[in-house]
């Protein structure tokens, strides 16, 4: 077995009902789920995938798409009707219950949607549960659990009972329990779905950090597109029991395998009713076209940005100028910003977020939000877009910094300004033009 493959699923079927084997056979011969519905309900149909060691593999699908059944087949909680599952080199689909228990102890642990903690045990005892099952002596398991409890940020809470903890903290205990078991593979079944959006985002970030630190292989189930996009190295999209696409988050967003995936991507955003207008910020890096290149350059220096928006009379959106171009103009003594104006795609305020991703990646600059009359309403930097996709409000007031960090140093700019007109640069770096308070 290839060592870099942590979990492998091959032609997995799970059918509930009277004649599961026959349903699985007919499905593999090409029958549709509806055709065989009289004989049994197919929860998972012909699922095959490989999860690499150290990867976060997200299985995304709406409720009823079979993702919970699929993840439970990966540790044998649900026995597949047919197909094989291999976990860290052991094929678990044809071994005894005792051997299966050993695989669960050593190789694959799980985090549950509703935490599934033992309510009568303390945080530390819960975290040590896996070690207790493995037969580790009390002193050692307490010490090891203690380390992980601290790792997930629950130091000081060891002796509390789960009910004394908030939802987010309870799930940290669930995570600690899974990490303490020191298995290579971590299954996470909608692990953050029961949490508040803010806590959810925090947990997602923590999970990514932990994964980078511990190098676990994580299989994460979610119905939340944003969560999948944030966490997943690769994403499998499930529908009606079948895996319809496996790919990187970019693949899923920009190159959906079929209408369903496209619809799914769209549906999720529509459901959130998020539009450009709802996430845009005031444009601080903004100059009037008549104020000239020197002023534009100074604004860029003050805001440490590599580009500024250029507006005409009545804040009509004209385009963007980049620092290098402006610098060249200043040095050449030219005065008309229109000559170096770039026009990246502007979006209307009611564009859904899903349509902002592509232009935002393409242009590398904040998107300009422009109304029907062409007036610049605001901008959407990429960080803001990502935060909005992750459903986390930005707590900072405004982000004047353009995406790509300025390639010109403050000093370069100041020098250029000084060279052209000596006294202006000395006037002070605090001077702001076109910015907002």
């Amino acid at each position: 077995m290839n060592e870099s493959i942590a979990v492998q699923a091959k032609n997995l079927y799970k059918v509930f009902g009277k004649k599961p084997k026959e349903v699985a056979r007919r499905l593999s011969e090409g029958a549709s789920r509806d055709e065989v519905s009289a004989l049994g309900t197919a929860a998972v149909i012909d699922a095959s995938f490989e999860v690499k060691t150290g990867e976060i593999f997200v299985v995304m699908g709406l409720s009823g798409s079979g993702k919970s059944t699929l993840i439970r087949m990966l540790n044998g909680l649900v026995e597949p009707t047919s197909g094989t599952v291999t976990v860290v080199g052991t094929t678990i689909t044809d071994i005894s219950q005792a051997e299966l228990r050993r695989v669960r102890q050593k190789s694959v642990s799980m985090v549950f949607q509703h935490f599934a903690l033992l309510p009568h045990r303390t945080v530390l005892e819960n975290a040590a549960f896996g070690l207790e099952v493995q037969g580790i002596a009390p002193v050692e398991r307490r010490a090891r659990a203690q380390r992980v409890v601290e790792l997930v940020g629950l130091a000081g809470w060891e002796d509390k009972l789960p009910r004394q903890l908030s939802g987010g903290m309870q799930q940290r205990v669930g995570l600690a329990r899974a990490l303490t078991a020191e298995t290579d593979v971590l299954l996470m079944d909608e692990a953050f779905s029961a949490l508040d959006p803010l806590i959810r985002r925090e947990m997602q970030e923590q999970l990514v950090e932990l994964q980078a630190e511990l190098g676990k292989t994580i299989i994460f189930i979610t119905h939340d597109l944003n969560e999948a996009m944030f966490l997943g190295d690769r994403i499998a999209v499930m529908r009606d029991g079948r895996i319809v696409q496996v790919g990187s988050p970019e693949d899923i967003l920009t190159d959906p395998a079929n209408d369903y995936v496209a619809q799914f991507v769209q549906d999720v955003d529509r459901a959130r009713v998020l539009t450009a207008a709802s996430v845009m910020e005031p444009a601080s890096a903004e100059v009037s076209v008549t104020s000239g290149p020197r002023n534009a350059l100074r604004t860029m220096r003050d805001l440490q940005s590599s580009a500024v928006f250029v507006v005409g009379r009545g804040r009509q959106y004209l385009g963007v100028v980049r620092d290098r171009d402006v610098m060249r103009q200043v040095k050449a003594g030219e005065t008309d910003l229109r000559d170096i104006l770039r026009k990246p795609q502007a979006v209307s305020p009611d564009t859904p977020l899903v349509d902002l991703v592509e232009p935002s990646i393409e242009s590398g600059l904040p998107l300009a939000v422009v109304n029907e009359t062409g007036k610049l309403l605001g901008t959407i930097p990429r960080v803001t877009l990502l935060a909005a996709l992750g459903n986390v409000p930005l707590t900072t007031q405004s982000i004047p910094i353009m995406e790509s960090p300025s390639r010109l140093t403050r000093r370069d700019i100041s020098e250029a300004l000084t060279e052209t007109v000596g006294y202006e640069a000395a006037a002070g770096t605090e001077h702001r033009t076109g910015g907002r308070a």
Binding site: R72, N75, L77, R101, R102, V103, R104, Q105, K106, V108, S109, M110, F112, Q113, H114, A116, L117, L118, P119, H120, R121, T122, F129, G130, V133, Q134, D159, K160, L161, R163, Q164, L165, S166, G167, M169, Q170, R177, A181, L187
Partner: protein, 304 residues
Amino acid sequence: MRGSVMSLTSNDLFRLPLGRWVEAAVDWVTHSFTGLFTVIRSLFLALYDAVDWALVTPPFWAVIIVLATLAWYLSSWKLGLGTVLGLLLVVSLNQWANAMHTLALVLVASAIAIALSLPLGIWAARSTVASRVIRPILDLMQTMPAFVYLIPALILFRVGVVPGIVATVIFAMAPGVRLTELGIRSVDREVVEAGQAFGASPGRILRQIQLPLAMPSIMAGVNQVIMLSLSMVVIAGMVGAGGLGNDVVASLQTIDVALGFEAGISVVILAIVLDRMTAGLGARVVTTGQPAASSFFPLEKENT
């Protein structure tokens, strides 16, 4: 026409001799397992005698102090005080010895009923087939009038306290089985899955997850078993089990309102004390592991 209907209902052709069959079965059991029943009889009798001795031998005030302290420990000082007053009333009614006989019978019968119903409840919770078989038997045991199985109990165990205990056990164990099964079955499926997912054996899952989480329900079952046992004391009195039931039966036979009421109020006092004490025990068992109110509490309530 009318005549023929009459003759039809009384026709021997449609008369199912169920009673005879049962009688034959009881006869067969009696003859085949005499030894077994003798063993059971002496075992139950020894148990009862031991408990009864422990309750009757010390002076009444010593027993009252012990029971009141226990009530205080399990519940509150109020229950402790109530226990003292209630039991003193029993003493003043000259029913103390009877009450202790009854208490001994109730304790022994409840202990046996719980010892039987817990494993049965666990079995029923783990096997749907067992559940399907056990359920109608429990229904039968609970709804069949107690007097009816008193008859074979009398045949098998002879007059005395043992048939009283047996009849009480049969009548009282049903809620114990039911509530144990219900408690284990209603344990959150995800928590049981968590046990499995970490590689715990079924035995460990039962001990460390299912039984602790089912404890509120099981303790409600224990409470019910004790209450139902107490409700059987009068019937046990009819087969010579002694205690308060004996006096109630006697008062019925002699139309003695005074004696009947005095024995009856003693039963009520015992019932209240036992009920409150087991409720307190249940609350203690359920909250075991909770640290004393300390430091600070969660930032937000968990929405379950």
